[in-house]
């Protein structure tokens, strides 16, 4: 399964980051998200919970993950 993302580069509000670190972050994101989906799937297999709850938790979890890691990064950026 291939994931192809096209990101518009050189945007004005984007600080100068190396392509390498972006790639590492993307890879880390995808790895953690894979783990999250697998965890939720195993959890829902052993519980008789509805389908909407699965997708709700999936998206909310990703939203939280992005929000939390975004604050880490903004702290990293400010010296």
């Amino acid at each position: 399964m291939a994931s192809d993302t096209t990101d518009s580069s050189g945007r004005a509000d984007r600080p100068t980051t190396t392509i390498a670190s972006t790639a590492v972050r993307l890879a880390a994101d995808l790895l953690i998200v894979t783990g999250w989906v697998l965890l939720l799937t195993l959890l829902f297999l052993q519980q008789p919970w509805p389908q909407w709850a699965f997708y709700a938790l999936l998206i909310v979890g990703i939203g939280l993950y992005v929000t939390v890691t975004a604050t880490w990064r903004s702290t990293e950026r400010s010296p």
Binding site: S3, D7, D29, L42, A70
Partner: protein, 411 residues
């Protein structure tokens, strides 16, 4: 999966998501939902983080579709037939086999088959720290199934991360800290020897002797390809590994000389069994040496074992040292990677550490056949090892269905 996201200067976006099935509808609703979320979070989340959410969210939905979560989340309420066992309609004719079926709730079937798939996926991926996993079907009423995953204790950090992620929710992630090795010695125990060899047929459940050790003799195992009958026992009882050209299996007799059963025809170290071609005098038997003799009529399929767990049924075994014991089934289709360089597939976990000791290896686990005579039983699998660590204690061995899948053998 193909995700294409383009972003123009005014921060308007379009998302395209091409994949099979119902992913398109999910993605459309996701996009509209995310658009709303984005408006609300305008102040808190910048465009880059929003894009990141979109990419990872789309990816997550793709992974969920790849795993096929809708197969069990959207399963209907009907019933489906499953094959639970392969049974000989004529007990005297070993080459007659017919399938026994049963109807089960579709939700349960969907969950259990998905659990088998995920278990297979985990075993194939074999992520760092993975030591094994097993499928534990739930009851028919709940229609669920668990995958119990064992991770190495050196990966406590992963476990802590999981624990923090799902705070308050129990997930079967077991940390394995202590492992009982398979041992070959039999000091301190008195194995049960066969009383006499007046009959040419040797029952299962008595002690047999390898060049270096003692194990339990299994029941007759049939090979439909060559139409052969075999004596069977555990391969690890041969110490350094059974050698089909030289190794022989013999039978100690109480108060008499040890007799020879035959020579090793096939050795299967991964499944931990040896098939021994009978010599001229003695033949393997389909009876198990219990106080009320049990006769083997066939074997359970993987779904048949799942059905036993769903109905909370137990397994029995007769070992040469511990004798007849009964225990609950703890997991099927198990993968164990903690005793050897390789992983063993298709294992059954049942009972507790007290149900097996050195010298019991090679015995079979079985369950009464509900549709035949009182004395008829169906084989679940072999018992080859026991394992204990905090929270888990069980006997394990290869399932009969696994031997049929890989080699064609059956009981």
């Amino acid at each position: 999966m193909y995700v294409n996201i383009s972003l123009d200067g005014t921060a308007e976006y379009t998302a395209q998501y091409n994949a099979r099935g119902m992913e398109g509808t999910h993605t459309e609703s996701l996009v509209s939902r995310l658009a709303t979320i984005r408006d609300r979070l305008e102040a808190g989340m910048d465009r880059r983080e929003f894009l990141r959410t979109l990419v990872t969210g789309g990816y997550a939905l793709g992974v969920a579709q790849f795993l096929g979560v809708d197969d069990f989340l959207a399963a209907d309420d009907g019933e489906v037939p499953i094959v639970t066992a392969l049974v000989r309609p004529d007990p005297e004719d070993p080459w007659s086999l017919e399938e026994r079926t049963r109807t089960v709730p579709a939700t349960w079937y969907a969950s259990v088959t998905k659990a088998f798939e995920l278990n297979e996926l985990l075993a194939r991926t074999a992520f760092t720290g993975y030591l094994g996993s097993a499928v534990v079907p739930g009851s028919y009423e709940r229609g669920t199934a668990s995958v119990s995953v064992g991770v190495s204790s050196s990966f406590d950090s992963i476990r802590e991360t999981f624990d923090r992620l799902v705070d308050g929710v129990s997930l079967d992630v077991e940390t394995i800290t202590d492992i009982d090795e398979i041992e070959d010695g039999y000091d301190g125990f008195e194995p049960r020897f066969v009383d006499s060899v007046s009959s040419a047929e040797i029952p299962s459940g008595v002690a047999c002797e390898t060049p270096g050790s003692i194990a339990t003799l299994g029941p007759v195992m049939y090979d439909p390809n060559t139409r052969q009958e075999f004596f069977v026992t555990a391969e690890h009882a041969f110490g350094a590994g059974a050698d089909p050209t030289t190794d022989r299996l013999s039978l100690p007799v109480a108060g008499a000389e040890t007799v020879e059963l035959g020579s090793v025809e096939y050795a299967h170290p991964v499944e931990d069994i040896v098939a021994v071609a009978p010599g001229n005098r003695y033949r393997p038997s389909n009876t198990i040496d219990t106080p009320t003799p049990a006769r083997i009529r066939g074997q359970f399929t993987r779904l048949g074992l799942a059905d036993l767990i769903a109905r909370d049924e137990t397994l029995e075994k007769v070992g040469a040292v511990t004798g007849h014991t009964t225990g609950t089934i703890q997991g099927i289709d198990a993968v164990t990677c903690f005793t050897d360089e390789f992983c063993r597939r298709g294992q059954i976990r049942w009972g507790g550490e007290m149900d097996l000791t050195d010298g019991d290896s090679g015995s079979v686990s079985y369950h009464a056949d509900p549709e035949s005579d009182d004395r008829d039983v169906l084989v679940a699998g072999f018992n080859n090892a026991r394992t204990w660590w905090p929270g888990q204690s069980y006997v394990w061995g290869v399932g009969a269905y696994r031997l049929t899948d890989v080699y064609g053998y059956y009981f």
